[in-house]
């Protein structure tokens, strides 16, 4: 008898707790299996800040693609600009294409151009105001990177390195070079060390809050 009561009690409690948690539960973006991007998405086209048409999910003549997701008013994102530029320049010589993707839905093209110029990005820069690439790759933080194969298949999503141990906790120097290790593994035909890592930085707006139809 008392065990039945306990059972009922447990069920009630769980129900109550679930109910209590309900208003706080955030529905995750559907594309959690973003490892395989829809084939139709690989033809996604963007006009970069220079006015050139870009297909950042499809680069048939490259060995891989890096998408650097950044927010122009995030200090952590900005602090990575020099490393983003170094990686982009070094790996472009080894047939890995880089794109810097601004992911602030409110960012104007003029503000993006000014920021890209101030921070000296040399690879193509795309304003993804409708967050289609965010949705496609499953990134949530800026700075965060997605590494894709030439056809847009996701190989890695996560941090560039571990320079930040937490918000406001910057190491003197990064000790885990996750992105570089991933790229080197790809170039050497080896499996990537980690498919995902946790990035530290500012939150990207939730794509589902935006009325978009990729």
């Amino acid at each position: 008898m008392s065990s039945r009561i306990r059972y009922v009690a447990a069920v009630c409690l769980i129900a109550c707790l679930v109910h209590a948690a309900e208003p706080t539960a955030v529905t995750e973006p559907v594309n959690s299996s973003a490892t395989s991007l829809k084939t139709s998405s690989s033809s996604l086209q963007f006009t970069d800040l220079e006015g050139r048409i870009q297909t950042p999910l499809s680069q048939p003549d490259q060995r891989a693609i890096i998408l650097f997701f950044v927010l122009p008013d995030c200090p952590i994102s900005n602090a990575y600009a020099p490393e983003i530029k170094r990686i982009s320049a070094e790996y472009s010589q080894r047939k890995i294409a880089s794109f810097v993707i601004y992911v602030d839905p409110d960012l104007t093209t003029d503000a993006a151009k000014k920021h890209a110029k101030d921070y000296g990005y040399e690879c193509p820069v795309i304003c993804d105001n409708s967050l289609r690439l965010v949705q496609q790759t499953g990134v949530t933080i800026a700075p965060e990177v997605a590494v894709l194969d030439a056809t847009g298949q996701r190989l890695y999503r996560g941090r560039i390195d571990n320079l930040y141990a937490g918000l406001g906790k910057r190491r003197p120097k990064a000790t885990e070079l996750d992105l570089r290790n991933t790229l080197d593994a790809i170039l050497n035909g080896k499996p990537v060390p980690n498919e995902t890592t946790q990035s530290i930085g500012c939150f990207i707006a939730k794509p589902e809050l935006n009325k978009t139809a990729p």
Partner: protein, 493 residues
């Protein structure tokens, strides 16, 4: 039976509790509850033209950043205020109360209702220009210093001649960086012998290499007593002070009647300039140069910094002389700091019994990247213990100088105790060495220092000499207990 009863009560309680908390939560709106908090705690920096990276002035601003706000508030990264609530309240405190923190996080969880915009309080009127009014003296760095796009943090000292032909008394200094995204904090000092000018530009860049090492060079400070004293180079002016004289980081006006080097306060991100309380003022000798000991964070893009500084003088000399009680003495130079790699908790402590009644008005702490926690307590003669400063998660980047809301009265016989802990393991992300290396005392940021400094006046001005003498005795005793000194004495026998 009783189980069932208990169960019913529990469920009922839970349901009622939930319902009421849901109802309360639903009533929390931006306009009525959140905006006043944001305006008071965040907007002074989070507005256009200030150091913070984005504005927090409207419902849309706050809603857009809600996830980040939630994280930094829960982690107490923001508002920047590292001290816990102790027994003595601080003036100008930016800390969020626990219930304020909960209000914000609950509001975010509840979907961030805006509420009635008519209930929105007006944005505070933030001062435009010099917040304390037109300064008595405005000076600027002679030439800009270039902060590179990336790399480690930079500590740099800049020398600004003040051209004063008579002594002045400084009640406040306002500091205006030109490149707000890279300037993190600046500590102010005066130097009246011309030594700083000589060092200035010795590496062909404006200013000279900063950090406490450089400050020690200027004051003839603890470096003289350390094994790797770089100050024994020939040709450098011998300006050593007597042990016990002028040892404070924050104020040692009374220790020496006319020091040629001394502190003038500081500025950190998020702080507004405030005059010293109660007619207190720092003495600034004629012919002094102002030294800005500035800490830069590279921001991802090269910036040029040319700080402007406004000094506020009082007409009269300081109403009361004040001094600093630093524990351990000399930034821990006599403590034999020697932290083996991998040590999770290394403790440095010091105590001092007050020889006279004192009134404390400020407190600050200093350690480097391994510093983990800081605590200063006062055990009164009646046995009651008060926490004067507690920083549970020390961060070298936030060297706040805390000011008490009121004088904290500490009677004669009160025992001040400081306890500083260090983490030299790989788990400390700020550890400058990877893998961790042995760390000893020193001024470089890869060495360690230890001090908590209490700024005090003697309750009776006439007892100031007794206070200073008492501290000098403590200083000498600390020196004689230095592990190195003992070792040397042992070796000579």
């Amino acid at each position: 039976m009783s189980v069932r009863h208990l169960l019913c009560t529990a469920i009922l309680g839970l349901v009622v509790g939930l319902a009421s908390s849901q109802r309360l939560l639903a009533e929390v709106t931006f306009s009525k509850d959140i905006a006043p908090l944001i305006f008071q705690k965040c907007t002074s920096c989070h507005r256009p033209g200030e150091a913070a990276p984005f504005a927090l002035q409207t419902y849309a601003d706050v809603k857009k950043r809600s996830e980040l706000i939630e994280s930094v508030v829960i982690e107490r990264q923001m508002p920047p205020w590292k001290a816990d609530r102790g027994d003595a309240l601080f003036r100008y405190e930016r800390r969020l109360e626990d219930d304020q923190m909960t209000l914000i996080t609950d509001w975010i969880k509840n979907g961030m209702p805006e509420g009635n915009p008519a209930e929105l309080p007006p944005l505070p009127e933030f001062p435009i220009g010099w917040s304390l009014g037109e300064p008595d003296l405005i000076v600027k760095m002679k030439e800009p210093f270039t902060v590179p796009a990336d790399g480690p943090d930079i500590y740099r000292n800049f020398v600004i001649p003040l051209e004063l032909d008579s002594e002045r008394w400084v009640t406040a200094i306002d500091f205006r960086p030109s490149a707000r995204s890279v300037v993190h904090h600046s500590l102010f000092f005066f130097e009246a012998t011309g030594l700083a000018r000589k060092i200035d530009g010795e590496d062909q860049q404006p200013g000279f290499k900063g950090g406490m090492g450089a400050i020690a060079r200027l004051r003839g400070g603890p470096a003289v007593l350390t094994p790797d004293a770089s100050e024994t180079e020939p040709g450098r002016p011998a300006r050593r002070q007597q042990p016990g004289a002028g040892l404070g980081f924050f104020g040692d006006q009374a220790a020496n009647e006319s020091p040629k080097f001394g502190p003038l306060g500081g500025w950190a991100l998020g702080a507004q300039p405030h005059p010293l309380p109660d007619g207190l003022a720092f003495r600034l000798p004629a012919g002094s140069d102002l030294i800005l000991a500035t800490h830069f964070h590279p921001s991802g893009k090269a910036e040029e910094e040319a700080s402007t500084v406004g000094l506020y003088f009082t007409k009269d000399p300081t109403k009361r002389r004040f001094t600093a009680i630093q524990l351990p003495t000399a930034f821990g130079a006599f403590k034999g700091i020697n932290i083996a790699p991998g040590t999770k908790e290394y403790v440095v402590e010091d105590s001092f019994e007050l020889p006279v009644d004192v009134e404390a008005f400020g407190v600050g702490a200093h350690a480097h990247y391994l510093g983990k926690s800081m605590k200063m307590t006062a055990t009164l003669p009646d046995g009651q213990t008060q926490t004067l400063l507690s920083i549970p998660d020390w961060d070298f980047a936030w060297q706040e100088q805390y000011r008490f809301a009121n004088y904290v009265k500490l009677p004669k016989g009160t025992r001040l105790h400081s306890r500083i802990t260090y983490d030299n393991s790989a788990d400390n992300p700020r550890n400058p060495s990877h893998p961790p290396a042995r760390v000893r005392f020193g001024e470089e940021s890869t060495n360690e220092m230890a001090s908590i400094t209490l700024q005090v006046v003697a309750a009776q001005e006439s007892e100031m000499p007794k206070l200073i003498d008492g501290y000098r005795v403590h200083f000498r005793q600390s020196l004689l207990k230095t592990p190195l000194l003992k070792m040397l004495q042992g070796g000579q026998r």
